[in-house]
Symmetry: C2
């Protein structure tokens, strides 16, 4: 079976309805992947994710490699068993975290040496090693080691990163096939780099498409550039990608950014925003965010989000959740994170329904307007 089925293209935007097929089940696209950095979506249980309707989870190779370590996850029979999540999992390469350890890593054509942020131990990641690690993790969707350019970035450096990313992608693909990862049902992505330079993005896309991976990701975005520039880069890059493969916009974003990116042809998203914001008491609604610690909510016995049907909104009041935050009670974090992840997952369902109905342009305009989004001018 192919990895991606394109079901429908929206008539007036570039939005696409599709299905991603994995050995742990299908995922209706476009979709959002809740982030379980260390094999847990912060404050939530796997049963919470099922109740929310999440069809896929993302974990971070770098963190899991260091703790609990491959020996333990291997002994458990892989990450699905270890964390008791039997739906699809995507894991990143660990590269993004390693590159962010600016003073703690040494980059060569062979790979990247780094020191653990936990105990300072030296480790060496290569494109091949990153595949071997993800073999042990048993992820359904596998990301390659790439070189993510910082922002801003001189063109010569961005070009070098594109070159290295392509070289590494070829080695990755060879190793992926040779070690039987494909046969075991794992699926491989490439990651288009090129910073904010259109010709470099084009070069990167072209070279990576030639390697013929299962899916295509757009990397080197949301690294500090202005939002307008991010969407400009996205616009160029997505149009360079093949229609028959799912497109993953890495590390994005706020709900209005997701709505806009879907309209530009993106299928897959991940971000820590809903859980991180939740832990600080900021909750998403169609009208924007509310800060639950705000004094205005101290005797507000209505739900977090009156338009939401999630467990937190059906059962608890703003006043109660505010009290939980003011007294540092864990249930507050749980309820806010639960609502936010539910908000994101449900937003994707609403997005899919709008594409199914062929009315994504209307959905997008009315969503961005209600959300009071700064992106509204751009559509």
């Amino acid at each position: 079976m192919s990895f991606y089925t394109l079901l429908k293209k929206d008539p007036r935007t570039k939005a696409r309805r599709g299905i991603v097929h994995t050995v742990h089940g299908d995922i209706q696209a476009p979709f959002f992947m809740p982030v379980g950095t260390k094999a847990t979506v912060k404050t939530l249980s796997q049963e919470d994710l099922h109740a929310i309707g999440a069809e896929v989870e993302l974990s971070n190779t770098y963190h899991l490699f260091l703790r609990p370590g491959l020996e333990i996850i291997g002994a458990a029979g892989g990450l699905h068993n270890f964390m008791s999540w039997h739906k699809p999992i995507l894991t990143d390469s660990g590269g993004y975290q390693v590159f962010s350890l600016t003073d703690w890593r040494k980059l060569t054509d062979e790979g990247v040496e780094f020191r653990s942020h936990i105990d300072g131990d030296k480790h060496f990641l290569t494109p091949e090693r990153v595949m071997d690690i993800q073999t042990v993790l048993g992820s359904d969707m596998v990301m390659p080691l790439d070189e993510c350019s910082p922002y801003p970035c001189h063109k010569v450096d961005a070009a070098a990163a594109v070159k290295r990313t392509t070289e590494w992608m070829k080695r990755t693909r060879d190793h992926f096939d040779k070690t039987g990862m494909r046969v075991r049902g794992q699926r491989l992505f490439c990651i288009v780099q090129g910073s904010s330079y259109r010709d470099l993005r084009e070069q990167s896309a072209k070279e990576l498409i030639a390697v013929d991976t299962d899916g295509c990701a757009i990397g080197g975005v949301s690294v500090g550039e202005p939002v307008k520039e991010m969407f400009e880069v996205l616009g160029w890059t997505v149009d360079m990608l093949p229609e028959a493969k799912p497109r993953y916009f890495m590390g994005i974003g706020m709900p209005d950014q997701i709505v806009k990116a879907v309209g530009m042809g993106i299928d897959m998203f991940d971000t820590v925003v809903p859980t991180r914001y939740g832990r600080y008491g900021t909750c998403f609604t169609d009208k924007g965010t509310i800060v639950i610690r705000n004094g205005a909510f101290k005797a507000d016995f209505g739900p977090l989000d009156p338009e939401c049907d999630c467990h937190a909104c059906k059962n608890y009041s703003r006043a109660y959740i505010r009290h939980l935050f003011n007294t540092s009670e864990v249930l507050g974090l749980r309820l806010a994170a639960y609502h936010n992840v539910h908000y994101y997952v449900k937003l994707m369902r609403r997005i899919r329904e709008a594409i199914d109905a062929g009315t994504y342009d209307e959905f997008q305009s009315s969503y961005l307007k209600k959300y009071n989004s700064e992106l509204i001018e751009a559509i």
Copy 2:
């Protein structure tokens, strides 16, 4: 309807099966009350408590009085509504917390003045005020302001505390009736004091029984005295109490202590032990506690407690929960606390089944033996 129905007395111990009736539902006795100090049982949701089978919850007046304060709980229509828990609630008087603020309170016959541990604001608690507060909270079971003797305690001080506790109990009872608390379905306890002095315990019990409350609590225990002495005091005191009223052993304790106290005739328990131990990664089993951070569990893919059928034990492994604790992930606290509260609630069900079967003596011996309890000699 009476507050307590005595269903059965165990033939060879003093254990009792009964039902406590409240306007928010019946509670099968003997029972354990999970402690939601600040209107939340730490790390758990109210739905978790339902799933666990908890029939009653306990909250702390002192903490709720300070935060969120009576105005907000009153506006919510009481504590049940505020926290979305529609089963029975017992609230303490706040006295225990206030008395523990040794340098921050001033005690007179009228009541006790104290400074908030949060902002230093002055407050004054009297027996009447404590009833008024619990009227706003709307608790099903109401505790009076008492004077809890510290340990050790000179007899003259313990005698003064007994005297004051009785005086306050009379004022409490008057105010309770006069302000319509009984009519609204609330039920009132007395708290027997007397430190470790048998004659003072006797005097306290006699004087308080004369006030004729709905239930009887044994206070001034588990305040630092040796466990042997605690059970000695319990033994005297429980025999002084009327059979027709439920008996509440306040703030106890470890599972083996509960098993023993039931055999001595106690019906009601509360303690933060299961949640507090859970948050530190110590989990209860019939064979005693296990410390989940222990290296022995790093690749142990069995459940926390192989004999347990709770959600945490059915779905997650020791290795995974250990990883969650090692990485400071909230789900670890949740799962350990969930298991522990489930363990306590299920223990009470097993206790009730043994009493129903008329075999509590056998249950008690075999439980204490398997738990390797220090209390085994005493039975």
